[in-house]
């Protein structure tokens, strides 16, 4: 990284501030009211067996942290996909990761509920997460194979990828709908999973997903320079001496891995991966060195806030967080679009 770009990192400070504020808010508010004093006490000396400690350490803290990591991961993956595809509509789910994960999770839920295979209770959650992850990787892998098989002309591989991704998404989406239709007693469960939720996620889920998210997200940040070049178009990138094919595949794999890990622990949380990178672009400009960490911080902030709302609005009941991200995100995003349009005029 060049010194000048490093210098630009100061622009991360407000976003980091937002994230810290969101984390504090997320830890403070919940279905159970805890005062700052209670929180401070049980954070410094967690006592075994007290309700407050259990709620704070075992339930709220992991949930808030997981929301932050998933938000960051989805936003980074979204930024990378938008860069690679040079398409502002691309989101983390564009080449089938979400529908693949949904299919995997649906099948896993079916296995758990039905007596197809007997799964001991302790393994249900890891089994669900691994199935979702496997489903996402499988579908995206199939998309890549299809794109590779079709030896289309110049500049076409990107288009083939998107189209194949769309087609396979519809296909797996239809399979999920079919499974839901045939097992309508499982509808609510599968449906809740599809809408995304952090309900009942603990440290285990963090242990499983966060290393993958960090690794692939970090990899994407390291590839910001190639991403910059790729977003100019293949020809420009090649003129500037970049082996486009190799980097593109590497970026797509890293972004998919990141998405799959997020979807596996949280379900399908829509709109965030589209919104966060665009908002960051409006604030920080299009360079990926800034865009990727910026999206990560903003995505994390937004999802922590959204999950806090999901937990508290109709407490003690909860709303799936995916509904909140879309409901709150869209108007804010549109407002940003409009206000930026007026500035540039």
């Amino acid at each position: 990284m060049q010194p000048r770009q490093l210098f630009l990192l100061w622009r991360m400070i407000p976003l980091t501030g937002f994230l810290l504020a969101a984390l504090v808010v997320g830890i403070h508010f919940g279905a159970v009211e805890l005062s700052f004093d209670q929180i401070r006490q049980s954070l410094w000396n967690p006592s075994e067996g007290s309700h407050i400690s259990t709620i704070l350490w075992q339930i709220r803290l992991p949930r808030v942290l997981l929301a932050a990591c998933v938000g960051g991961g989805l936003a980074v993956a979204g930024a990378a996909f938008q860069g690679v595809f040079r398409n502002p509509l691309a989101d983390p789910f564009v080449i089938g990761a979400s529908s693949g994960a949904a299919l995997g999770a649906t099948l896993a839920l079916l296995c758990i509920a039905g007596s197809i295979t007997v799964i001991t209770a302790t393994w249900q959650i890891p089994w669900l997460i691994l199935s979702a992850f496997a489903g996402a990787i499988l579908v995206v892998g199939a998309v890549f194979v299809i794109a590779a098989l079709s030896n289309a002309g110049r500049n076409a591989p990107l288009l083939t990828l998107i189209l194949a991704g769309m087609a396979l998404s519809s296909f797996t989406g239809a399979l999920v709908s079919l499974i839901m239709f045939l097992n309508h007693e499982m509808l609510t469960t599968i449906f809740s999973w599809l809408l995304g939720s952090f309900s009942g996620r603990h440290w285990n889920e963090i242990m499983m997903a966060v290393p993958v998210i960090f690794f692939s997200g970090g990899l994407l940040w390291l590839m910001s320079r190639p991403l910059d070049l790729l977003s100019f178009g293949d020809e420009t990138a090649m003129t500037l001496g970049l082996s486009t094919g190799k980097f593109r595949v590497l970026i797509l794999i890293a972004a998919t891995l990141c998405t799959a890990a997020c979807v596996a622990v949280s379900g399908v949380i829509g709109f965030l991966g589209l919104m966060a990178p665009h908002m960051t672009r409006i604030m920080l400009g299009p360079r990926h060195v800034l865009l990727i960490p910026g999206s990560c911080l903003l995505g994390a902030t937004l999802l922590v806030v959204a999950d806090t709302l999901a937990r508290t609005v109709i407490a003690p009941a909860e709303i799936p967080v995916g509904i909140v991200t879309a409901l709150m995100g869209c108007p804010f995003f549109l407002f940003l679009l409009v206000s930026r349009g007026q500035q540039s005029r």
């Binding site: 209770a121 669900l128 839901m180 009942g200 109709i314 003690p316």
Partner: protein, 330 residues
């Protein structure tokens, strides 16, 4: 987004349709409770008879129906309980009780709204029983095809009596129907008196876990919630209006249930020990009264989700779970 929209619509439709899950007890439901409860007593079990159903439609049944089709499992159970089983020709693929349903034609009902009209009409039914807002469209379609249809709600304990009355009048089993209603009332009252002495130490606080991830329970607006309330359990999430809400684990731990109930779907594992181990492994659940005292009970789903004649059995299971002392002496 388009794909998700269409899926959403599909799911919402199906959700409304699924019996027992249809949360909203429409206001129409309660007002209909009075209309059918006031039968113009004509010659009992004599035909022709005019019955008004929950849509407010009056159906004239000229002679005793002998080709009855039921599109709700709870209605099927009622029909057999009042002795009208022999007049039936068809029921849904979900109707699994009593065993005689095996011999009936099964109308595929992969999803409560998706019955094939052709298959249904081919059975040449002379009376079709269904219920709920979600089968409203179907009822209207059948009416247009000149198939006599009666729609009775099936979502609450009050609906049971109401449905039995309507079904028994229209099939010519008025006496059996009234007897069944009395029997159910007596049995429920007997259960209530039986647990009454044990309520002095306070009602146990009950958490009914519909699903674990996301954590879902049954609110007081649901049939199961109503049963828990009826037998003297304090629903841990009595303050939630949604019938089957996703709830906060934090609140669950803070409110600390004395008893945890779970459903098992037919054939599913009812391994209480294994389930207890899972609950123990969940952070914060170890300290719950219910888990500490091993008061986890797994109850057959059909008994507590179908507002039918077997409600008494379901209620007894819940009563045994909440007040085991009341059932030990014998």
């Amino acid at each position: 987004m388009n794909r998700f929209n269409s899926r959403l619509i599909l799911i919402l439709l199906a959700l409304w349709m699924s019996a027992g899950c249809g949360a909203e007890k429409a206001s129409q439901n309660s007002e209909s409770g009075q209309t059918a409860a006031s039968p113009e007593k004509q010659n009992p079990s004599g035909f022709p008879v005019t019955v008004k159903d929950d849509r407010g439609v009056e159906v004239m049944i000229s002679e005793k129906p002998v080709r009855i089709v039921s599109l709700l499992p709870s209605h099927t159970e009622i029909l057999f309980a009042i002795g009208a089983g022999e007049q039936m020709v068809g029921c849904t693929t979900y109707c699994n009780y009593p065993a005689e349903t095996e011999q009936l034609e099964k109308v595929a009902l992969s999803n409560p709204g998706s019955v094939s009209l052709e298959v249904l009409v081919e059975l040449k039914p002379d009376l079709v029983f269904l219920g709920g807002d979600y089968q409203r469209l179907l009822a209207d379609q059948l009416s247009k095809l000149q198939v006599p249809v009666l729609s009775f709600e099936s979502q609450s304990v009050a609906d049971i009596e109401h449905s039995i009355r309507g079904i028994s009048r229209s099939t010519g089993h008025v006496d059996a129907g009234e007897a069944l209603i009395q029997q159910i009332k007596q049995d429920i009252a007997a259960l209530q008196t039986r647990v009454k002495p044990y309520q002095k130490q306070g009602e146990p606080r009950v958490f009914y876990q519909v699903w674990d991830q996301p954590l879902m329970t049954a609110g007081p607006a649901s049939f199961i919630g109503e049963l828990i309330d009826l037998i003297g359990g304090e629903n841990l999430f009595a303050d939630v209006e949604i019938a089957y809400p996703q709830v906060s684990e934090e609140t669950l731990i803070l409110r600390n249930p004395d008893v945890i109930l779970m459903p098992y779907v037919n054939g599913g594992p009812a391994d209480v020990a294994a389930s207890l181990r899972t609950l123990n492994a969940r952070p914060g659940w170890k300290e719950m009264n219910a888990v500490k005292n091993k008061r986890l009970y797994i109850i057959e789903d059909d008994l507590i989700s179908r507002p039918g004649p077997r409600v008494v059995q379901g209620l007894q299971k819940i009563a045994q779970a909440l007040y085991p002392e009341a059932f030990q002496q014998q």
